[in-house]
């Protein structure tokens, strides 16, 4: 038998995630000794863990720039530019997620230390997802990502809508996970291995037990499981209910983290394991992308609850990233499309967290105050808040000078490159552009409300929330004005077969 060696485990390469997961376990115990009035200590300790993980990630990125990708835990995980970039996005989102919750939880009388530990657990799941090189790891990472989110959605219990959200999310999540596992099993049956790099060999006609058709059916089911996580049509229906019911900071983090995690797996699995069948899944994903963009944007129009509106907006944005995924099946477009997708996820993360930060500021203690009408007159009472919200809405629509515009631009650029000789992608791209015009309809309703309607917009910006707001607004603006350094990083976010 082959016992693993220290070299093959390569602990150093996966240090960021090890630190985070280990710290989460420790913090669970430490939290028991922190009195209920001082739960913010747990929050800061969690931030400390994120920070340590971030430092390790920085070292890892420097090491990556020198020696390229390496694999860890045998060949179960791979640390490449793609993984590192997304892990950075996850850490950032988690940090902002904690900032958003810091004042929210006590205000709503649901402060418990587990919030922060669970946040760390789900973040470690996301980070593992980004580096998964084996379908089993993909599945477990997905579960590790999802389970804490199910719990967090119900964190405001005994508030009924929160419990309902958790229940729905859990049931449907389990349902989708079932498909994912079934898909992985079929892929294993077809390819004789669960290693992504092994699957690709089996599909081109090698490997221990080549049986491509089974693997392809497996691929379809994997797509279902991951499509559920990123909220793609028709696996999106949980999104509005869960987003609306869950405590707002959880919604904010979920909309960003879970989606990015799902896309991390989607990109890696389909581009590494199934490149040979790109013409098949490319069509499926392109159609799903078109449906997702249309449905997300059209239904968002008739929403009056901002959380719900942002939920549909989050569905729509999944559609845009899916366009990039569909475009990435052409090998000559792949680097551009992958970097466009991860860059889009980064811009979406900062913008959406910012938008939710504003929703949190407006939300009253009883959970009301998140209707579109509640934004009326905000420009007069809280001019800075109104400016920030306008910036976020512009960014979500994709209007300069904002991060969203740059993100959309690169996604569509990749799509246009891929659409040479592929009328389907061209159609989907055109749909994408048209639907982003439609999206202006509901996004810009909020600035109109804030600036042109009378009303006394009330908001409560507490210190941590203010910091989060300032950070996200600044990032949204900077990514839109000087995107070059971040694009440069995204350019290096390439997928590699297990090194």
């Amino acid at each position: 038998m082959n016992l693993p060696t220290l070299e093959s485990i390569n602990l150093a390469a996966s240090l960021p995630v090890l630190i985070l997961a280990g710290w989460a376990c420790l913090l669970t115990a430490i939290d028991l000794f922190i009195s209920p009035e001082r739960k913010h200590w747990t929050a800061w300790l969690a931030v400390l863990g994120l920070l340590a993980s971030g430092v390790a990630l920085g070292f890892e990125a420097v090491a990556y720039s020198q020696r390229g990708a390496v694999s860890a835990f045998g060949d179960m995980a791979v640390v490449d530019g793609f993984a590192l970039f997304l892990q950075g996005v996850f850490l950032l989102s988690a940090f902002l997620g904690i900032l958003l919750a810091l004042n929210y939880l006590p205000r709503h009388n649901i402060e418990r230390g587990e919030y922060y530990t669970l946040l760390l657990f789900t973040t470690s799941g996301m980070m593992l997802m980004a580096m998964a090189a084996d379908l089993i790891v993909v599945f477990l990472a997905l579960e590790l990502l999802s389970l804490p989110l199910y719990v967090l959605s119900g964190f405001a219990h005994p508030r009924l809508d929160s419990e309902e959200a958790a229940m729905k999310y859990f049931l449907l999540g389990a349902f989708a996970s079932g498909f994912l596992v079934y898909g992985i099993a079929l892929t294993y049956g077809g390819a004789g291995t669960t290693l992504l790099s092994g699957v690709v060999e089996a599909l081109v006609g090698g490997g221990p037990a080549p049986n491509p058709v089974l693997a392809i059916v497996g691929m379809g089911l994997i797509l279902v499981g991951l499509g559920f996580k990123v909220a793609a049509v028709p696996f999106h229906m949980w999104t509005p209910d869960v987003y609306q019911g869950a405590p707002t900071p959880v919604t904010a983090f979920m909309s960003v983290g879970a989606k990015a995690g799902g896309f991390a797996a989607l990109l890696r699995v389909f581009l590494i394991a199934f490149p040979a069948t790109g013409d098949t899944w490319g069509v499926v994903i392109a159609i799903i992308a078109a449906l997702t963009m249309i449905l997300g944007n059209v239904v968002a129009i008739s929403q009056s609850n901002v959380k719900r509106m942002l939920a549909y907006s989050s569905i729509a944005h999944a559609g845009y990233v899916l366009v990039a995924v569909a475009a990435a099946r052409y090998p000559e477009v792949e680097p551009l499309a992958v970097s466009a997708a991860v860059f889009y996820l980064l811009t979406y993360a900062v913008t959406n967290l910012g938008a939710f930060a504003i929703v949190i500021a407006l939300e009253r203690d009883d959970g009301t105050g998140v209707e579109v009408e509640d934004f009326a007159g905000l420009a007069k009472t809280r001019p800075w808040l109104a400016i920030a919200m306008t910036l976020f809405m512009l960014s979500l629509t994709g209007i300069p000078p904002s991060a969203g515009m740059v993100g959309k631009f690169f996604v569509f650029q990749a799509a246009v490159q891929a659409s040479v000789g592929d009328p389907l992608i061209l159609t989907v791209t055109i749909i994408g552009v048209l639907t982003s015009v439609i999206s202006a309809f509901y996004y810009l309703r909020i600035p109109v409300m804030m600036y042109f309607r009378d009303g006394e917009g009330q908001a409560n910006v507490q210190p941590a929330l203010g910091v989060a707001l300032a950070l996200t607004a600044l990032a949204t603006f900077l990514l839109g004005v000087v995107p070059a350094p971040f694009l440069q990083m995204a350019r290096h976010a390439l997928l590699t077969l297990a090194g």
């Binding site: 229940m167 049931l171 491509p212 058709v213 499509g227 229906m237 059209v298 350094p485």
Partner: protein
Amino acid sequence: MDGLFSIVPLIILAPFTGVLINVFFGRKLMPRRDSVAPGVIASSMAGFSFLIAVLMFFALLANPAGAEVPVLTWINVGDGDFTLHIPWTLKVDTLSSVMMLVVTGVGTLIHIYAIGYMHGDIDEKAASRGLEGEEALDFKRRRYARFFAFFNLFLGSMLVLVTANNYLMMFVGWELVGLCSYLLIGFWFDSPEKNEAGQIIGVLNSSAGRKAFVVNRVGDFGMLLAIMLIFWSFGTLEFDDVFARAECMIEAPQAECLTLSAAELAPQGEGEAAAEEHGEGEARALTTPIALGPFAPTLGVVVTAITLLLLLGATGKSAQIPLFVWLPDAMAGPTPVSALIHAATMVTAGIYMITRSNVLYAMAPVSGMVVAVIGGATAFVAASIAVAQFDIKRVLAYSTISQLGFMIAAVGLGGYIAGIFHLATHAFFKALLFLGSGSVIHGMEHGHHHAHGQGEHHDAPHGEDERPFDPQDMRQMGGLRKHMPVTTWVYIIGALALAGIPPLAGFWSKDEILLDASLNSTLVYILLTVAAFFTAFYMGRQVFMVFYGSERTEAARHAQESPPVMTIPLIVLAGLSVVGGLINLPVGGLHPLGRWLEESVANAHIASFNILVATISTVLALVAIGLSYLLYGRKPLEEGEADPLYSTGPVFTFLNRKWYWDELYAAIFVRPYNRLGDFLANAVDWQFWHDFVHDRIIADAFQGWAAILSRPIDLGIVDGAVNGVAQLVESTSRSLRRVQTGYVRNYALAVLMGVVAILAYLAIRFLV
């Protein structure tokens, strides 16, 4: 030592930090009326920048080649054949180092001076608005902090300009400087300069700011066109690459050179030397065709166009004919602003830019000549106007234009070292003179208050003065030597330096320019020599009118010396004006500045000292000073006496009215423009378009048609279609929303549908 270059971003960062501090905390830092914290912060930021500039100087001593320090990538678009890559990279070489030292060094002294000056100025303005107590304090807080924020911004912008390594970044600095000049010239935008009688005297500050901005924009337009043309023909905007490619295109076709960068060309070394040789010889025939859209002009034509457009930019910033009119009005701003604009920063931008582009100018001899003639003509015209002015600052303003003409003429003739040398020495003594005049004005205002305060007690309301009081009018001064000894002495030193009396700084640099002119163009040489004569004369006139003779007003009688925070910078600047010539002393083939600049200015050449030229200019200057003594010194003006130059009649009026430039512009541009606007608005738009076309033709016809169209067609079909689409989207939205039942079972069903659809597609795809 090379690592030292990497700290150069701090030189820009420091002033901008000062801006932020003063913008956000400036007001809070002033608990009392005599607090100086904003000024001290701004000055220390400027001083820090100077320190960095000095460090850069030492680093360059060790490694004269300099360095390019990348800060970040600013623009990076396109790939393949078309790319636009503009980094935010700072260029440190000997040329930019000289500029940094001058800008930060003189700038720092002006900052320090302004700490004291602005206190008096703001108090004065507050008093004239009748503000008291808390209101006055608040007013002062706002204005004091704002002033120093703008001041630091100005300094930082200028540093952006001189440290740029590409034309676009330079343009950013260029525009920022323009913006800051607008902000600072119009600093008292809300106070029309009024005398006691309530009449408006002088220029409204805000309109002076606007004039500066608009005129500058005309020049910027040329600059922008030049930048576009450069990018179009050379495919890059970075200085070194542009120059390398331009020189490459002399021999090779355009396409071959477009991929070249300076770094690739550098190792050859020979090419550069060869190009230089060419430059010395006969004008080269630059016939390489350059692809510009549908046209393919030759390289020579393109470079000439670029350099002429750049010149248009330079005439705007450096106040040359035809765009110099803004600068005299710019003295409406507080005096330190005038000093900063005229001495250290803004106006030198044009000279710096031309020097930086020397490779291009060397390739376009026609442009070089145009530059030189414009410089010479400006020097002459401005100097002649300065002779007939009475406002102390206005004399200095025209003097600045004239001296800038000297520099422009020098760089136009290829005397880049002489131009930059004069730029540096001029910065010293012109800052000195402006700040000195500020000190005089300060003293006069003080004296006026003193006299006025007593007068109110025991005298009939101001019957004494014929003219309204104007602290800047030289006719109301006189005899200030007795009241302001320090100011007097430093002012005389500055005046002598400007007049070009050896061995002061001005002599050496002016002489080098005259030498270059005498070798290259007789016309320019004559213009400059006459201008130099005028210069000595008007400075003599000014000194005698202001400091000698007897006091002509009460204000002058009660004038007071300024506080040390103002006089110490003056003394430092006086010292620099005396010894400034040392930086490029031509004795014994020394020429330190020349050797220094040779490192970065490819076409620099070192002029040798010519005793004949030096003697002529010195003798002329002495004669001019003697003449001014005869007219103003021997028999000083008395109260109410007219200027002896009035005897020249129309000539004096012509000069006093500034050659009627403003009137000319008003006649050629402003009034026709207003009339055209009026015509377009009233006649064309309103009477013809609105009254006739709209009301008669369109409205009547429309109403006829509308009757037909509105009911059946519009409401029925068009509206229906538009509303229909909107309703469709909305109703789709609503019906899709209805699918969202809230039942988990339904949701699961949707997932199942997706599964079946996907699997069916896959199965069909692979099995059929």
